[in-house]
């Protein structure tokens, strides 16, 4: 009875969990290991899961914790800067003309964004994917990554700013390249 309920809850999230795992690990076989271990742990711990609470946040949290204790995760974790989360001054907007967003409209947007996402620090990438791709609320993200709501807000703002900055650099690099070809 319980296993059937687990299957009903967990299998519809399989594609999304795999996608998230691949973005975290940046490697297909490691992503498969992560998902497999996540499902095994979730199945074992399912007896302790309280029906009616957020299953999606729960299983994403298991996946994320599994990643953080993996070899790749431990390597990625020290890249989290200390005392940066509450530094609101750094969250002010950068001058915005021409915006990378508008430049990107003329370019191969998706490929550029994928490349930019891959360049983000892992804690920025994960929070951005949870918000934009998984469409999680701030509250749900806070539950998933086990941080306070305020940290979700500041981390998400930083992640978006970092993404825009990478895209801006990409767009600038392409413009410079085109100019040198035209000369």
């Amino acid at each position: 009875m319980q296993a059937a309920t687990f299957e009903e809850l967990a299998m519809p999230l399989f594609d999304q969990l795999y996608n998230f795992a691949h973005w975290l690990a940046q490697d297909r076989s490691e992503a498969e290991d992560l998902v497999q271990e996540t499902y095994a742990k979730a199945l074992r711990g399912f007896a302790g899961f309280q029906p009616g609470t957020n299953f999606r946040a729960w299983i994403y949290r298991i996946l994320r914790n599994t990643f953080l204790t993996s070899r790749t995760g431990l390597k990625a974790l020290p890249s989290l800067p200390l005392n940066s989360e509450e530094d609101e001054a750094a969250l002010t907007l950068l001058p915005s003309q021409p915006t990378p967003e508008t430049l990107l409209l003329e370019r191969d947007q998706q490929e550029a964004v994928q490349s930019a996402l891959a360049q983000l620090r892992v804690h920025h990438r994960e929070v951005l994917l949870l918000a934009e791709v998984e469409d999680m609320s701030y509250e749900e993200i806070a539950q998933t990554i086990s941080v306070p709501l305020g940290t979700v807000m500041s981390r998400l703002a930083r992640a978006r700013q970092a993404l825009r900055e990478i895209l801006r650099q990409q767009a600038k690099g392409r413009d410079d390249g085109l100019r040198s070809v035209a000369r």
Binding site: W23, L43, N65, L91, V113
Partner: protein, 248 residues
């Protein structure tokens, strides 16, 4: 409120995370301010692209089949009518035993897992991720890595030396794992929030697990569990230092 203030809230607005009153006010501003509306539109475009680009990876058909088999294989066929009498008897037995042994089992399980973590850490070539005997270096390292903070005791003049720390998890609950040394023995200090780890950890875990001594204490809303192969008095002495450092 000027454009700069609205732009600072633009992402919250697009995420639908502003209060209803602010949502309406921001909405009204975007209707009259072309610059802010253009910025909002550009960010919306980027979000759409991120949403599409973020769905980049698909599991292989073979991996999907393997996982489906595993999850389905975990289901046990169950015929209630065949097993009802045996089940009723078993339930009675389990309930009776559970009354007596429930807490003990939960405690044993948690102690076993922590003892495993202690052994695995000692066996690791890099047992700690922040290597320092300076508590003012080790404490800030945990900022942003775990959802709470704690104080480290001043061990100067004591037989104990701080070796460093790492992030750990127990039952999917994040915590801190510190390592101290006394003579040639190393002691693990596990720290979890009481409000999140309360269901996993029993109130008192003091005792022994296999050849390890275990001591536990609480202070400042935190559980401290110490595991090591030293005399329990020594472990208690170190536990007292952690408790005193975190008293509110």
């Amino acid at each position: 409120m000027g454009c700069e203030a609205w732009l600072a809230k633009l992402d919250l607005y697009l995420d639908g995370e502003l209060l209803a009153e602010e949502m309406r006010a921001c909405d009204a501003h975007l209707r009259v301010c072309r610059e802010c509306a253009a910025e909002g539109f550009a960010r919306l475009q980027l979000r759409r692209t991120v949403r599409q680009a973020g769905r980049a990876y698909q599991p292989s058909a073979e991996f999907r089949r393997r996982m489906e088999r595993q999850v389905a294989g975990a289901k046990k066929p169950f015929r209630l009518w065949t097993w009802a009498p045996a089940l009723a008897a078993a339930l009675l037995l389990v309930a009776a035993l559970g009354l007596y042994r429930g807490t003990e089992t939960r405690g044993n399980q948690a102690v076993s897992e922590l003892a495993d973590l202690h052994v695995a850490t000692l066996a690791s070539v890099s047992p700690v991720d922040v290597v320092s005997s300076d508590r003012h270096t080790v404490k800030p390292w945990f900022e942003g890595r775990i959802p709470f903070t704690f104080n480290l005791p001043d061990l100067a003049g004591s037989p104990f030396t701080l070796l460093g720390g790492r992030v750990t998890y127990l039952g999917q609950v994040p915590g801190a794992h510190l390592l101290c040394q006394v003579r040639q023995h190393r002691i693990s200090i596990f720290i979890f929030q009481q409000r999140t780890a309360g269901t996993i950890l029993p109130a008192d875990m003091t005792g022994r697990n296999f050849s390890y001594s275990v001591a536990s204490t609480t202070a400042g809303g935190l559980n401290f569990i110490l595991v090591g192969d030293v005399a329990s008095e020594e472990l208690q002495a170190l536990a007292s230092r952690w408790r005193d450092a975190n008293r509110t």
